[in-house]
């Protein structure tokens, strides 16, 4: 292919949208704001689609050099964009899902304050996310990496008058900063060791030295993992994501489910050449992934806030992706990333539609029976629920199956990883169908007396009154088509999206795996002979445990609706533990946040800031004042004293010149 692909337009168009809406959006009519925001995300999507159609004629990796950025001595970093198979997949997901969510937001945010601000931030996010995936070196990626964190902070704290939203925003930002610190250290190590941050140069240097194993590469990989755990909400830095649900729901769908949080997975896949040389780092990734996927799922079991269930499910699904990265099945991770983007965005958008129509209510305990009132939302949500639970032929089935299969055949402790993932699949099925039953099936619990009997707290009961009022006031119904359209498209994608990666064992060709192979390699191989039978058996077992989850939910929430409460009382200890999210927030608070606050307040602020910095400033000021107080006597206002000083000075000069200090005066 000849000619430029003009990759630079892809991130910069949303940035232009951000500038226009951000600077003068307040004064523009709403329609214009909408048009600008949508067009500025549609153009990148069309560009990406065009590149995708021509992709076979592009020589990959295609590099676009935009200019020199930093050039000091031997080190240089440029504004270089790169297009290869991995970037292509990410671009399609980010622009495609991003555009759909922009459309949805038009309906969702229609009556909100700060409409222009919301879309400006959303476009800003698109700019940084596209920079992140298009960058050709670590430094530019870091710009995007930080930038999406900023956009995430701004959007979580979008309702900035709400205290909890502001706190959640700060929490997300600070926790992300801890991860970014790891990323930054990794960058320094890369510069120190390789003298460059360019992907190609780093990777080719590693390829030229097959004897490099572990050592510095392990250190770099582990710091990169720290960065990834922050951005992708993995243990130990996952705590910000559930709180991030304070943001508007489209934000949760776009940033905290479909795109930004997958940046860590993308980064690990992108730098897999480093990870491949460090078995220790890979095992770390796998263990983090498996642990996160399991613990997040258990926390999701008992949540009552519809968005929090989805938040924990996001953390858990990201754990799957990490698990896949940890067993070097990067294409499986990216495959799951894609399908997850479809169904999780859909889940959030559908949940948003429910919340929207119930007048802002997020508590599942007061929902119920929405199936008849919101049929489109119900059916799209159903597709998503089946997709995330991994029932064939929905998208999640193929990708999750792919991950678990690769985990199983991985040589290092793969069976344990597989088992954890398998159990988690059951838990996933449980909490997703629980959400499905509580929200859509049965009768409306708004206004019902069951809640009181089940010992629900008072505020829930009053919430239920609110919902019933909302229901009576304008009737709960499906959202306008501007919101339903994206739901339907995503539902189709969540249903059929898995067919891009049907494994060979099921008669497919694993297109996405082969597509990504030039970038990320082919992943672990099964022992010859037994692969297809084993793979089928494993997927059958995943479907079975999914069905088991569905069955349990059916019994608990349909057949014997009083059982969950009894169970909670019976298993009091465990229930308490998961309801309080293993007390992780409290532990972090006691171990890290409180000491930090105390040190900041007393040692840094009280002693250092007040004492040293302020003290130095005050001392300098007092010195100058004292000196001035003495010297100001000279300026008496008395002309004769001035003249006296003048005459004295002249006399001194005269005498000096008389005694020979004339060097500077001599004309020749």
């Amino acid at each position: 292919m000849t000619g430029s692909l003009n990759l630079w337009l892809i991130p910069l168009v949303p940035f232009a949208g951000f500038l226009v809406n951000g600077l003068i959006g307040r004064k523009l009519p709403k329609l214009l704001v909408t048009a600008i925001a949508l067009i500025c995300t549609l153009i990148p999507f069309l560009l990406v689609a065009k590149i995708w159609l021509e992709f076979s004629s592009v020589t990959t990796p295609y590099i676009e050099h935009l200019g020199t950025w930093i050039w000091t001595g031997a080190f240089h970093a440029d504004f270089d964009l790169q297009l290869d198979q991995l970037t292509m997949v990410m671009l399609l997901v980010v622009t495609g899902v991003g555009f759909l969510i922009h459309i949805y937001s038009v309906g969702y945010m229609a009556h909100e304050e700060g409409y222009w601000r919301f879309f400006a931030y959303l476009n800003l996010f698109m700019f940084f996310m596209l920079t992140l995936v298009l960058s050709e070196n670590f430094l530019l990626m870091f710009v995007g990496w930080e930038g999406v964190g900023l956009a995430s902070y701004l959007l979580i704290g979008f309702y900035f008058l709400k205290d909890s939203a502001v706190r959640a925003g700060i929490k997300a930002f600070v926790v992300n900063r801890i991860g970014d610190f790891g990323f930054l250290i990794a960058l320094f190590l890369l510069i120190a060791h390789f003298g460059t941050l360019d992907y190609r140069e780093v990777f080719s240097q590693i390829a030229q030295h097959p004897e490099w194993q572990g050592g510095i590469l392990t250190a770099i990989a582990l710091f990169l993992v720290l960065g990834a755990t922050g951005k992708s909400a993995q243990i130990p830095l996952y705590v910000w994501l559930p709180d991030a649900m304070e943001g508007p729901t489209p934000v949760s769908a776009l940033i905290h489910a479909a795109t930004m949080v997958t940046a860590g997975v993308y980064m690990v896949s992108r730098t897999h050449i480093i990870f491949d040389r460090s078995p220790f780092a890979l095992s770390t990734v796998a263990i983090i992934g498996a642990a996160t996927c399991f613990f997040a799922a258990t926390m999701g079991l008992v949540q009552t806030d519809i968005k929090r269930v989805l938040a924990y499910s996001t953390v858990s699904q990201l754990g799957y992706m990490f698990l896949a990265c940890g067993v070097a099945a990067y294409s499986s991770a990216i495959f799951h990333l894609v399908t997850h983007a479809f169904f999780k965005a859909l889940l959030f958008l559908a949940a948003g539609a429910v919340i929207h129509s119930l007048g802002g209510q997020q508590d599942m305990r007061v929902m119920g029976g929405l199936r008849k009132k919101m049929p489109v939302t119900f059916w799209t949500m159903t597709a998503a629920v089946f997709a995330i639970c991994g029932f064939p032929p929905f998208a999640g089935f193929f990708s999750k199956d792919d991950i678990l299969y690769h985990a199983f055949i991985s040589p290092n402790g793969g069976k344990i990883l597989w088992f954890v993932g398998w159990v988690t699949a059951g838990l996933t099925s449980f909490y997703m169908f629980r959400l499905w039953y509580l929200t859509f099936l049965g009768e409306s619990r708004a206004d019902s007396h069951e809640l009181a009997e089940q010992g629900a707290p008072v505020h829930v009961r009053s919430d239920s009154k609110l919902v019933s009022e909302a229901e009576h006031a304008h009737g709960v119904h499906d959202s306008p088509w501007v919101m339903l359209g994206p739901l339907v498209i995503l539902a189709i994608l969540a249903t059929i999206g898995g067919f891009i990666g049907v494994p060979a064992a099921m008669g497919g060709h694993d297109e996405i795996g082969h597509f990504l192979e030039p970038v990320v390699g082919s992943g672990p191989r099964a022992p010859v002979g037994e692969s297809s039978g084993l793979e089928l058996a494993l997927s059958a077992s995943v479907v079975l445990i999914g069905l088991l989850g569905l069955l349990v939910v059916h019994i608990l929430y349909k057949v014997k609706p009083d059982l969950p409460h009894k169970l909670a009382t019976r298993l009091h200890g465990f229930y308490n533990l998961v309801v309080h999210k293993y007390w992780v927030d409290q532990i972090y608070g006691a171990l890290i946040v409180t000491p930090l606050l105390l040190i900041s307040r007393y040692l840094l602020k009280g002693l250092f800031d007040r004492g040293v910095i302020d003290g130095a400033g005050f001392a300098a000021g007092a010195t100058a004042q004292g000196f001035g107080a003495i010297v100001q006597r000279v300026q008496s206002g008395n002309i004769r004293s001035y003249a006296g000083w003048l005459a004295l000075g002249a006399a001194v000069l005269l005498i000096a010149s008389y005694f020979g200090y004339t060097a500077h005066f001599s004309p020749q």
Binding site: Q632, Q635, S636, G637, N638, I639, R640, A643, G644, A647
Partner: protein
């Protein structure tokens, strides 16, 4: 022909008298006159040197000094009148507004 050193000595004496008067006198008019005295002492030096070196530039400089002195006298006397009208005094020690 009078040697140049006499002119210079006379000029130095006149200048020193001017400086001393400037420092000692309290009446503004006297201060003003002492300034004129210093200027003319300098003029005398210029003329003496111009004659000595047979160069005309010293004489031209004197014209400039006289023009500036005339302008200064005009402005200065106007200021003195203004001050006298507002403060009813010509004592420089009482005119010390220009301080902190």
């Amino acid at each position: 022909m009078v040697p140049i050193v006499y002119y210079l000595i006379l000029s130095a004496i006149l200048f020193s008298i001017g400086v001393a008067a400037f420092l000692i006198k309290r009446n503004i008019i006297s201060v003003f006159m002492s300034i004129e005295l210093m200027l003319n002492a300098v003029n005398l030096t210029f003329i003496a040197f111009a004659n000595h070196w047979h160069q005309v530039s010293g004489q031209i400089f004197v014209f400039f000094v006289m023009v500036v002195a005339a302008a200064e006298a005009a402005v200065g006397l106007a200021i003195i009148i203004a001050i006298f009208r507002t403060r009813s005094t010509l004592n420089v020690d009482q005119i010390d507004l220009m301080k902190l």
